[in-house]
Amino acid sequence: GKVPASNILASAPSDKNLDAWRELGCRTTHCNLEVVHRSTLVFLATKPHILPGVLEEIRPAVGPHHIVVSLVAGVTIQTLQRLLPPWTKVLRIMPNLPCVVQAGAMVFSRGSNAGDEEAALLKSLLSSCGLCEEVPESYIDIHTGLSGSGVAYVYLFAEALAEGAVKMGMPGALASRIAAQTLLGAAKMLLETGEHPAKLRGDVCTPGGTTIYALHQLEKGALRATVMDAVEAATNRACDMAKD
């Protein structure tokens, strides 16, 4: 709610993706150049292999007043700056899916010409979608492994929780809703108390109780290491893909 919808102009080759923008009250076009001519802050949200073409297209219209923010996975600031005029203020951001429900986790880095003002503007705009932090560019791939892909790990965990409940006799739909709420609640407590997760975990474990029995099963399955492996694999893959 920081920017009126009428101030937002979105462009795409076909109408397919533009309906969603129109429904929000944004203006739409099929012309990328028009976006650049009429806007100061320009977000690039294409698939990686499309981006070079788009940059070539808009390059002539990009001026010193523009702020170009790329959401394109795997395309480095170095590449962006190479394909745009040398004075361009460039920032690179990696969001995650829950931005769409204003509970996202985003990290961004600035290019050589982007200053504190641009960083502050981006942060202030995007904080309305969730957590938004500036980081060194090297963290962006890690963020992919942790949070970009991380959302999928959580979906997997939620599904498994629910299946466990179904096995024990609970109807699936109810189990799924409770599973999701459990994750939401636990995450909220983590964020709001600021306590170490190990401490919060210990707080739930009464001696000889149900929780510690369950946790033992998780440890036997080496869940921690598996999760670490997952974050590592996704991060490495992000790095590899960026090199292509």
Partner: protein, 294 residues
């Protein structure tokens, strides 16, 4: 450990060839081969024999137990009620305290818990606590927790020795001389334990404090997690606790083999320094028993 003067301690063992005997003698402890004499001259009796021997020793000294005596058993898996039952034949209200300690009492870093029996008073418990606190940490617990304590801190030193042996191997593999590797490994665990005991922080937080991003430690920890390190430790504590309960169950059914009795040696001895003591009204004695039957 300076709580009790050595001459107020009496130790007995029928077998005087045991190495612990000469150790006790050197400390200035009164020594006798007669368990009965020990009982007569003491107020607090530590039964330091293996669990299967307990019934036999109780039979032997039972007649001499008086109301003033506090009988302390450190035998794993031997319940207060089994001791009280045996002694009630001789004394209507025997004071029994059951405790579980561990080997590092030898270096005054023991971990001891105790549970008081039906007729033991609060002061009796406090007396034991004072004695055992001189060799480490000591606290009272409900008797039903003692098996868990056995699994954790009773057996715990063995887990630590195993870990230290392996850590030293790691050091040697990477080029350290063995002695240095052992020394450094032990110091690392000692230091970590001390930090934890002195800190308000959760061990998870302390672990994080050591792990710089992308650094050596976090790489190493990943290996530990992959190997199920945590679950192995949980399994160990559980196994030790369950086995303790099993042994107790067997003992309750009085399934004691004569062979086990024949092979028994002195189990654990509470070693206390003979230095200047706080004057104490009670006398402490240490029992051992080796049956010469069969």
């Amino acid at each position: 450990a300076g709580v009790l003067a050595a001459h107020k301690i009496t130790a007995s063992s029928p077998d005087t060839d045991l190495p612990t005997v000469s150790g006790l003698r050197k400390m200035g402890v009164n020594f006798t081969v007669s368990n009965k004499d020990t009982v007569k001259s003491s107020d607090v009796l530590f039964l330091a024999v293996k669990p299967p021997i307990i019934p036999f020793i109780l039979e032997e000294v039972g007649p001499d137990i008086e109301a003033r005596h506090i009988v302390v058993s450190c035998a794993a898996g031997v319940t207060i009620s089994s001791i009280e039952k045996k002694l009630s034949a001789f004394c209507p209200t025997p004071k029994v305290i059951r405790c579980m300690t561990n080997t590092p009492v030898i270096v005054r870093e023991g971990a001891t818990v105790y549970a008081t029996g039906t007729h033991a008073d609060v002061e009796d418990g406090k007396l034991l606590e004072q004695l055992m606190a001189s060799v480490g940490f000591c606290t009272e617990v409900e008797e039903d927790l003692i098996d868990a304590v056995t699994g954790l801190s009773g057996s715990g030193p063995a887990y630590a020795f195993t870990a230290l042996d392996a850590l030293a191997d790691g050091g040697v593999k990477m080029g350290l001389p063995r002695r240095l590797a052992v020394r450094l490994g032990a110091q690392a665990l000692l230091g970590a334990a001390k930090m934890l005991l002195e800190s308000e922080q959760h061990p998870g937080q302390l672990k994080d404090n050591v792990c710089s991003p992308g650094g050596a430690t976090i790489h190493a920890l990943h290996f530990l997690e992959s190997g199920g390190f945590r679950s192995l430790l949980i399994n160990a504590v559980e196994a030790s606790c369950i086995r303790t309960r099993e042994l107790q169950h067997l003992a309750d059914q009085e399934k004691i083999s004569p062979a086990a009795i024949k092979k028994t040696l002195l189990d654990k001895v509470k070693l206390e320094s003979p230095s200047l003591s706080v004057a104490s009204a009670s006398k402490v004695s240490l029992f051992t028993h080796k049956s010469k039957k069969n």
